[in-house]
């Protein structure tokens, strides 16, 4: 069993562990890029990415010509659990993961309905938001709501307010939420929000939320960066 991450993240975690267990003390110099590349059999580019990450986190400090030094004890790894125990509100789940959430409304509009899940709706309100953790882009969420249940929704300030609080005010808070998780390529149209150039696999969630009357009131798709995401659950065997 291993801690599975991207190679440079694995190396960064390894360095952090060595700081925590005292192998590298605060103020000490860590091995050079070249030494680590040789020891671990990885490229110097990977080592540099790991060191850059830790310098950004202020765990290490680089001094030109002298080497890289331990600056402080690292924080414990943070991830957002979107499985069992999650609140179904991403902002709350980000906070539970020990990070600071914020959001940007990218687009909101009402459209002629072409979603089969809302067969009796003429129009759909579509809200697209970028969720951030510690001011870095984390997820893009596209929520579709039946316009007939939320007339005037476009006047609500979704940058400040919560979608679920708004839905609750109208008596249509999703109570029963079914979800589907797949791993997919980040769609081309969203890459720009994450500064992604190449193909990148991300968590893809589809949520169908039903209110207390059992009516479908929400269909949301969410694309979440894997670096911050985990999905935990307990299964029973029958």
């Amino acid at each position: 069993m291993t801690n599975r991450e991207y190679l440079y993240v694995q190396l960064a975690e390894n360095i952090k562990k060595k700081i925590i267990n005292g192998t590298y003390s605060i103020g000490s110099r860590i091995p050079s890029e070249r030494e680590m590349a040789e020891v671990y059999g990885i490229t110097r580019v990977t080592v540099r990415r790991a060191l850059d990450l830790l310098v950004k986190e202020k765990v290490l400090v680089a001094s030109v010509g002298k080497g890289t030094f331990v600056a402080k004890m690292p924080d414990i790894e943070k991830r957002i659990n979107l499985g069992e125990g999650s609140s179904s509100r991403l902002v709350s789940d980000i906070r539970s993961g020990g990070m600071n959430p914020s959001k940007i409304v990218i687009d909101m509009q009402w459209l002629k309905n072409d979603l089969k899940c809302f067969p009796n709706e003429e129009h759909i309100f579509k809200l697209t938001r970028l969720m951030l953790v510690d001011d870095k882009p984390y997820a893009i969420q596209i929520s579709n709501l039946p316009y007939s249940k939320f007339e005037g929704i476009e006047r609500y300030d979704f940058k400040e307010g919560s979608l679920y609080d708004y839905m609750d005010n109208y008596g249509h808070l999703p109570i029963r939420i079914s979800s589907e998780l797949t791993i997919v390529d980040m769609p081309k149209e969203f890459k720009k929000y994450f500064n992604i150039k190449k193909k990148k696999k991300v968590f893809h969630f589809e949520y169908m939320g039903r209110d207390k009357e059992g009516e479908l009131v929400e269909y949301t798709e969410s694309y979440n960066l894997p670096e911050y995401t985990e999905y935990k659950f307990t299964i029973k065997r029958f």
Partner: protein, 178 residues
């Protein structure tokens, strides 16, 4: 080259529930897919610090390391690794894993019934050996977990590394307090 390989691979996606466990091979059978299990490793090793702590056994206790490659419709889809204390499954070395799910063997041969599992899914970059075995480039889905028997005793640590489109998970949450 790798992208071409991936494109030529017919997509096979197994739908799993986050509430009820069914073995991957039983789901494959149900869906009518052809599959093959290749045992890559079945060795006794000494538990390292992490394994001994997770399995609640002393450091360096003998455990079985079982590694299997799952091939579906002629394409490798997942590498399944399991770690089980050797004293729970005596003479396991002689057991054939090619035709029966591991939990069926545990139940029928060793009277160990797995009652529940705790799982965690992340996405990670494939290692060199995983890229070779799965003939896949880039990222993989990694499912790690622990399985318990009916007495709540931990029986198995496991890790499943699969091509990203091999599993999808369906679940439901009900917020009773709202």
């Amino acid at each position: 080259m790798e992208a071409e390989k991936a494109e030529s691979r017919k997509q096979v996606t197994i739908e799993r529930s986050t509430k009820a466990y069914y073995s991957t091979t039983s789901l494959l059978k149900k869906l009518g897919y052809e599959y093959q299990v290749i045992v890559l490793k079945k060795d006794i090793i000494e538990a390292n610090k992490l394994q001994s702590s997770e399995l609640s056994i002393p450091l360096a206790t003998n455990i079985y390391e079982i590694k299997r490659l799952l091939i579906v419709e002629d394409h490798p889809r997942a590498i399944e690794s399991s770690y089980i204390a050797a004293d729970l499954i005596p003479e396991f070395y002689n057991v054939s894993l090619e035709n029966e799910p591991l939990y069926t063997i545990l139940s029928e041969k060793y009277n160990i019934d797995i009652d529940k599992s705790e799982e965690r899914i992340i996405v990670a970059e494939a290692s060199k050996s995983e890229r070779e075995l799965l003939k896949a480039d880039g990222e993989v889905m990694v499912i790690t977990g622990k399985s318990y028997d009916r007495n709540g005793q931990i029986i198995e640590l496991y890790e499943t590394v699969s091509v990203c489109d091999f599993f999808k998970f369906k679940g439901e949450t009900i917020h009773y307090d709202k």
